[in-house]
């Protein structure tokens, strides 16, 4: 047991591509504390996305141990991982991944559908989160009626709706202009001030500068870990 929120030791991940083996992670050990704001950096193919999938419980390590908030992830079955994600993790993606032709409030409440929460409570909680990200006036808008920044706000509201332990953001500003990116990052800053643990994957230094700790990956290993 460790006091760290995220505790990983000697994580490896090997993909088999035909006869070739791709070593995406080669022995990663790192601890992340509750309330930290961490930027994961590196060029493409460095292993940063694999690492993020791992701590987001989307993927399982080939070897090594991974413990999040006292739960061991390495032995979990797909449905146990799904339940873990539903409880603990909020995801924000570069491409927003909102359901088309579906109102903002329904998009934001989607994770609650799978944790058996009543329709009335789902709506109430989704509305609270949309208001928190500044979309209180656009609850019934479909994604096609919203700007990119507004769509990403809906996605953040969706990530927050199940009160996650960790907020994982994968290039959240990659599809946005500079001005809008700054607004989105300010939302993350505010969330972190309120105590949310945020892990943000990016390859842009000025985005990473919002975080208080930067972890740099290269060739499946951590080459730099600075605060």
């Amino acid at each position: 047991m460790s006091s760290a929120l995220i505790h990983c030791r000697d994580l490896t991940r090997v993909y088999k591509m035909g006869d070739n083996e791709v070593h995406a992670l080669r022995g990663v050990s790192v601890d992340i504390q509750r309330g930290e704001y961490v930027a994961i950096m590196g060029s493409s193919g460095s292993g940063k996305s694999t690492f993020m999938n791992m701590i987001g419980a989307l993927d399982r390590p080939t070897s090594g141990t991974l413990e999040i908030d006292g739960e061991k992830l390495e032995g979990m079955k797909p449905d146990e991982l799904a339940a873990f994600r539903g409880r603990r993790v909020g995801f924000v993606f570069q491409q927003f991944n909102l359901l088309p032709r579906t109102a903002a409030v329904d998009n934001a409440s989607l994770p609650l559908v799978y944790s058996g929460i009543s329709a009335a409570e789902r709506k109430q909680r989704a509305e609270a989160r949309l208001t928190q990200v500044g979309l209180g006036e656009r609850m019934d808008h479909h994604p096609s009626q919203l700007s990119g920044g507004q769509q990403q706000r809906v996605a953040i509201a969706r990530a927050l709706v199940n009160d996650p332990t960790i907020l994982l953001a994968d290039e959240p500003t990659g599809a946005l202009d500079t001005q809008t990116s700054e607004e989105i990052l300010q939302i993350f800053d505010a969330l972190n001030r309120d105590g949310m643990t945020i892990i943000l994957v990016t390859h842009e230094q000025d985005v990473a500068d919002h975080a208080r700790r930067q972890i740099v990956f290269r060739d499946g290993q951590i080459i730099e870990d600075r605060t």
């Binding site: 987001g56 449905d79 994600r85 032709r101 579906t102 799978y114 329709a119 199940n162």
Partner: protein, 410 residues
């Protein structure tokens, strides 16, 4: 995730792709409506057959002299070809499992009432005749056994005869002259309609057999109390084959037929004869229903195709749902419910169209149609089955997707 939330998710997805959903449904609509029309036509045909059988009387044995296969054979010198009242009595008393038995002899005679003439068939029968044919008066009464024995001058007339002689007025109690014999009308038989050979079965009169033999036809057939035909109704609880065999044995004995010699009479079960004659018709009906079933199958394949397209197109959505906590079963159920809802709605539409089509065919009066409530269950059951059967594979495939690859899918 509870079932109502799952249904709502499925309905939303279907509404979002309304045109595609409608096209996917079309195959099932056509399949189900075709099945319903075909089943209704087949049911109607087999009902018509049953009605025909019922109009002869169920489980009716008809005994005639002379083998139907060998023409009118005569027995050895001195034996009578015609049967008589003693044969009727013997069948009644010696065969177990006979519910009613009656002899019949008939001829044509002229009926005269109030100056109106009508020539038609008059049948002389025993009192149990009505029971053997399951045919009774719609008004008035049948005659009593004593009236048969005494040769009473009473007569029952069919609907056609009643109309031709008396028009709309009540014939009961009237005196009609049959040939030269005045007879009292005691009843009017219920309508029977045409026989399967197109003969008007209501253009007939029925009188006690002794009256007809002695007063009206006056044949000399060289036999005492002759009958042309014997009608015997098998008791519903009895074994028809056994009763038929007993009856044949009795007749051979009474007609002195040596062991090994051919029968000089025939015993026919008319119901079975008609059933056999119409076997081909119902087989054709089955063939049509099978063809309709195949179109339902094709509809199901259409559903499967659409569901495969839909799951592929929505791969990212599936990835997202998995990422935010959907279990494999949640994904599988969502797509399964979508295909069941598609098929179920298609089934309901097909049911309406099928019933409408069957009612239309019925209105043409070309085919007898029987729309049964069970077709609703067939339609709903078959379409739900198609939905689950053909929806399972696409839904299962969707549920096995890897969330990372699904999210990355372009």
């Amino acid at each position: 995730m509870n079932i109502f939330a799952a249904i709502r998710v499925a309905l939303t997805a279907l509404r979002v792709n309304a045109l595609r959903s409608a096209l996917a449904m079309l195959g099932v609509v056509i399949g189900v409506s075709a099945v319903i029309v075909m089943v209704s036509v087949t049911e109607g045909a087999s009902n018509a057959i049953e009605e025909q059988i019922a109009s002869f009387g169920a489980n009716l044995l008809i005994i005639r002299p002379g083998s139907s296969a060998f023409g009118g054979r005569r027995g050895g010198a001195g034996t009578a070809t015609f049967m008589n009242d003693e044969d009727v009595e013997a069948i009644r008393n010696e065969i177990d499992g006979i519910a009613a038995v009656s002899g019949e002899m008939s001829g044509t005679s002229t009926f005269v009432a109030d100056g109106v003439n009508w020539s038609t068939r008059i049948q002389g029968v025993h009192a149990e005749y009505f029971e053997t044919r399951d045919w009774f008066p719609s008004s008035g009464r049948t005659f009593y056994p004593e009236e048969v024995n005494s040769g009473a001058r009473v007569v029952l007339i069919g609907q056609t005869l009643a109309r031709e002689l008396y028009g709309a007025s009540d014939p009961i109690g009237q005196i009609v002259r049959v040939g030269t014999t005045p007879m009292e009308i005691i009843g009017v038989m219920s309508a029977k309609g045409q026989s399967s050979w197109g003969q008007d079965q209501d253009d007939v009169a029925l009188a006690p057999i002794n009256t007809v033999r002695d007063r009206i036809l006056g044949y000399d057939l060289g036999v005492r109390d002759p009958v042309f035909t014997i009608y015997a109704e098998i008791d519903a609880s009895a074994n028809a084959d056994m009763v038929t065999a007993d009856l044949e044995d009795l007749m051979r004995l009474r007609r002195n037929i040596q062991p090994g010699a051919e029968d000089d009479f025939s015993v026919n079960n008319l119901g079975e004869f008609i059933r056999a004659r119409n076997e081909t018709e119902s087989q054709l009906g089955l063939l049509l229903a099978a063809a309709a079933g195949i179109s339902l199958l094709v509809g199901g394949i259409g559903i499967m195709n659409i569901m495969l397209v839909s799951t592929t197109e929505r791969t990212r959505e599936i990835g997202l749902r998995l990422a935010v906590g959907a279990k494999r079963a949640d994904i599988r159920n969502q797509f399964l419910i979508e295909s069941v809802v598609l098929c179920f709605t298609g089934g309901l539409l097909g049911l309406l169209i099928g019933i409408g089509g069957a009612a239309y065919i019925d209105s043409l009066d070309q085919f007898p149609i029987e729309i049964q409530p069970t077709v609703a269950f067939i339609a709903i059951g078959a379409s739900a089955f198609v939905g689950i059967f053909f929806g399972f594979y696409p839904a299962h495939r969707a549920s096995r997707l890897d969330p990372i690859e699904a999210l990355r899918f372009e």
